[in-house]
Symmetry: C2
Subunit: 308 residues, 2 copies
């Protein structure tokens, strides 16, 4: 057992966007660390973090932030992980845990792993939580409450360090699962990456029509389309990096999605009502199971406010 | 001007599901009719409507409900419209307005139109509002508040009757637009029908995987997938009928969606980050415009409850 089981001496959060700032708030709310340092290369983000009093110290360079930290969490886009790791590697304390919050794990393991100095425990992580908003002000302390955080430790990871990181996320309100980076990337391809891609895609398709005006798309979006615009409003840099770094799993899942969609298209063309009805009746069950598992609210329409 | 501008003498609602029961509640709440009759061929639905005191009279046959009604609204699946119209045509009062709430308008116009007796004003309509839930107990009076209701009167429609129906929906809280049935079906194909189809489809794809368990799909659904399960939990009969009856427009929009998705797939395969970033930055703007237009809430994550 390390002292991180109880409380981390100092957590350094590198990158103060939606997720980084939520980690800072949740750490403070849960008393999960004695000290919080935040680094962000964007001066505006750092100023906002300071205004919001998210941390005990604020740093424009990541190297300064990690000094003496028992836990370092990289909360930058997946494509920026390696360059941040290069910058901080010389400043990491012996015995420290280095983790991240990236939505892709294999590329982080491969790009960051070799840069981690001996004596530092590198354990990639991914809290499966977020909103479509970005920046330090979009974060909130309860973001991880009841959501799953997946850790993908390398084969030779120190089990005490894995336990400590797991205890940290549990303290922040998460449930913790451990799996291989490969499996994580496959699972998230279908539960997150492909859903984002098709949401971005349909919003693009609707935007480009000549026969339906943009104003009509907006006015009648309550028919279903508006649901897709929420995740299609997610951070462009983060999501570009996800697709560039989880290419194989995304292409595999996308292939299956397109194949199934082609079959539905054929059912529509040939008027096969039974095939449509059969699929549409089965999918209801999954919604119910997600609600039963506490992963979504049972209120109709996501609990969107309806005026009285 | 007809007396329907002020208040309909009696509105008959045929079919008491989510939409029919919401119309009944909204009529009562707004005082939009002196009398409400409800018909439903499903005894369970009719009993629930009675328990909820949604109407002044309850009928197991549509013909009984329409007697002396100045406004009749068909709120049954699109595929059942013509058979209901056949049943009621002999009982419609001279001068009455016959309308509906179907999500497809051309097929309703073509299948119901010829069954409407002379002297009855047939004006198809579509309130673009709903939730994923079904049945009389799922309805609520504010469902149409701030949402658009589209009327698609035939070329020779009586303008006073169109005005009266428009006034009725306005009284229920809707904004009203008028367009051709053809254009409606094209617009709704992209703002509603294709979004539902791809939501149903991805839930089906996820359900069928061998490499990712169903339990994993549910646990990590907060990554984006759970959003899609909401509309994929919508009424199977209603949606089967939508796709069977708006085949051409859906296939046209689906073709564009798939073409665009193939281009994105290619960008991922070849690592074209700029193409991805470019699309992902543009789509944010549409979300903003939908919120500005009052068609969705600005709260992050649809305002889903997060525990404090």
């Amino acid at each position: 057992m390390t002292d991180a089981d109880v409380m981390v001496n100092k957590v350094a959060i590198i990158g103060c966007g939606l997720i980084g700032s939520s980690v800072a708030r949740a750490v403070r709310h849960a008393g999960a660390a004695a000290e919080i340092s935040i680094a962000d290369s964007d001066v505006g983000n750092l100023d906002k973090a300071r205004e919001l009093s998210l941390a005990d110290s604020y740093h424009s360079t990541a190297l300064d932030a990690v000094s003496n930290a028992g836990l370092v969490i990289l909360a930058v886009p997946v494509g920026a992980m390696a360059s941040v790791a290069t910058v901080i590697s010389g400043g990491l304390k012996a015995g420290a845990i280095l983790s991240d919050v990236g939505s892709v794990k294999n590329s982080v393991l491969k790009s960051v792993g070799p840069l981690v100095p001996a004596g530092v425990h590198f354990i990639p992580g991914h809290p499966v939580a977020g909103t479509e908003q970005s920046g330090p002000e979009a974060g909130f302390a309860s973001l991880f409450d009841g959501r799953w955080c997946i850790l993908t430790p390398p084969d030779d990871a120190d089990s005490a360090a894995v336990e400590a990181l797991s205890a940290f996320w549990t303290k922040l309100g998460s449930k913790v699962d451990i799996m291989t980076a490969d499996h994580h990337d496959l699972v998230l391809a279908i539960t997150s990456h492909v859903p984002h891609l098709i949401a971005y895609n349909i919003v693009g398709t609707a935007n480009d029509l000549e026969t339906v005006t943009r104003s009509e798309v907006i006015k009648y979006s309550a028919g279903g389309f508006r649901d897709f615009t929420r995740i299609a409003a997610s951070d462009p840099t983060m999501w570009r990096d996800v697709f560039l770094n989880n290419k194989e799993a995304v292409l595999e899942m996308l292939g299956r999605f397109s194949e199934d969609l082609t079959a539905l298209q054929r059912a529509i063309r040939w008027g096969d009502g039974d095939a449509l009805f059969d699929l549409f009746s089965h999918t209801r069950e999954i919604r119910k199971r997600i609600i039963d598992a506490g992963q979504d609210d049972e209120a109709a329409d996501f609990g969107r406010p309806h005026k009285p």
